[in-house]
């Protein structure tokens, strides 16, 4: 089993109001088969044994599907590996002796709760504003009654791969959430079941994102590169299109 030693410059912040600072910690004998979060677990065990406060970080599934984990490693959200969440990032991608700067996702809309834990409920607020469809109760409709082209279903599925982790916001120089909003608008709006609310949805979600204090998209495309689910900026263009259509041609205000 190969092991590496690392130096961590890790962000420590006691509360949302605390100013925060970097703390330098040694991570020794880290197996290269570990995930990044497992490496942090090892560091935390040592900190606990030493009677010090362990590093707080978010996680849940640890298999890249829930969107809970995430931190910025040497300036890159979820680390340097493309299409990978932090929990799926393995330590073999780092070299013995590396120094890693580990910071929380930073945006006005994402308050730091403690250390690497940020409050991403702003994204939930955007979902509440319009991220739903109306489905009638009663007997289930015949599955083949609404034909959907395979290519359209694929596009919707690609957009639905968004796990809402917030890496797009973290990566964006403007802290804009447009890749997230674009993915949700696309995922619901591409399918016939999502069309009835399409105009209202795009207006409400875009306005809510503004209200939450996210920045404005300037098409820098860092989001697309850092997204662990590799969501395309074509979804942002689709949202822009839907927005223009909804604002000018629909009866929604």
């Amino acid at each position: 089993m190969a092991t590496i030693d690392l130096t961590l410059k890790i962000w420590r912040q006691n509360s949302p109001r605390d100013k925060g600072r970097f703390e330098t910690l040694a991570a020794r004998g880290i197996s290269t088969d570990m995930s990044f979060l497992e490496m942090l677990d090892v560091v935390n065990e040592q900190l606990t044994l030493d009677g010090r406060e362990p590093i707080c970080f978010d996680h849940d599934c640890r298999e890249g599907i829930c969107g809970m984990c995430g931190a910025v490693i040497n300036g890159r959200p979820h680390g340097p590996q493309r299409g990978t969440t932090l929990c799926q990032l393995h330590m073999r991608h780092f070299a013995d002796g590396d120094t890693l700067a580990i910071e929380p996702f930073r945006a006005r809309a994402f308050k730091v709760v403690k250390d690497l834990v940020v409050d991403r409920s702003a994204l939930d607020k955007v979902m509440v504003a319009g991220g739903y469809i109306a489905a009638n109760t009663g007997s289930a409709p015949e599955a083949n009654a609404t034909p959907i082209a395979a290519a359209t279903a694929e596009l919707a599925m690609d957009a639905a791969a968004c796990i809402g982790c917030g890496a797009c916001v973290a990566a964006c120089p403007n802290a804009s959430a447009m890749l997230f909003v674009g993915a949700k608008v696309s995922h619901l709006g591409l399918l016939p079941q999502g069309r009835p609310e399409a105009a209202r949805r795009v207006l409400a979600m875009v306005r809510e994102a503004d209200r939450q204090g996210f920045g404005n998209c300037t098409n820098v495309t860092e989001c697309e590169v850092e997204c662990p689910k590799e969501i395309s900026i074509a979804n942002i263009a689709r949202m822009n299109r839907e927005f223009l259509k909804a604002a000018i041609a629909s009866r929604e205000r």
Binding site: G20, F22, V72, N74, G75, R76, R82, A101, E103, R106, A107, R108, A109, A171, P173, N174, A175, S176, M178, L203, V206, R207, A209, D210, G213, F214, G215, N216, C217, T218, N219, V220, T221, E222, C223, E224, V225, E226, I233, A234, I236, A237, R238, M239, N240, R241, E242, F243, L244, A247, I248, R253
Partner: protein
Amino acid sequence: MSWLVGTFGTAIGKKLFMSVTGLCFCLFLVGHLAGNTLLLSGADAFNAYAAKLQSLGALLRIMEAGLIFFAVVHVGTGLYLFYQNLQARPVRYRVNASGGGQTLGSATMPYTGVLILAFLLFHLVQFTFVDKGDAGVYALVAAAFAQPFYVGLYILAMAVVGVHVSHGFWSAFQTLGMNHDKYFGLLRMGSVVFAVVLAAGFAFLPVFVGWVA
């Protein structure tokens, strides 16, 4: 009324202003460059072109007013977006790195924009809001570009314009929702080609005029 604010006051609405005015400036630059190539044909041709433009009278004034209005909208909205985007991340990262998405153009838009504004004001004072005398505008241009300092300044300014347009052009289409699998690569590349042709075309003129004079 409120739907207007709720449309054009949003992140996407403000970008629509940037996009539409920006594309108009791209069109203007093409026209300006086409007209200026008459510098290559010498003093008579260029002065005749200037006279022809002036003879448009009211039409020219309307176009000028339109350009000024668009500039105010583009610069004003741009500065507001820049301010808002700074606000959106009050605590900056200590370590910054790019995953490879940003380009020279996209990373510097507000700065190149302000530089272009400064150059534009200088350019207007130098060649537009000035008494051209009897010698005509060609003489004015030739006198300026006989000095290597002005040639260098214009070449630098055109490089900045090129960098700005290389991102602005495709970005305007993206903002308008025009992103298509088949044309996207072409648009991104075309944007850079367009910027280079524009900048090189404009930058060549002072060199040529200075060399002839």
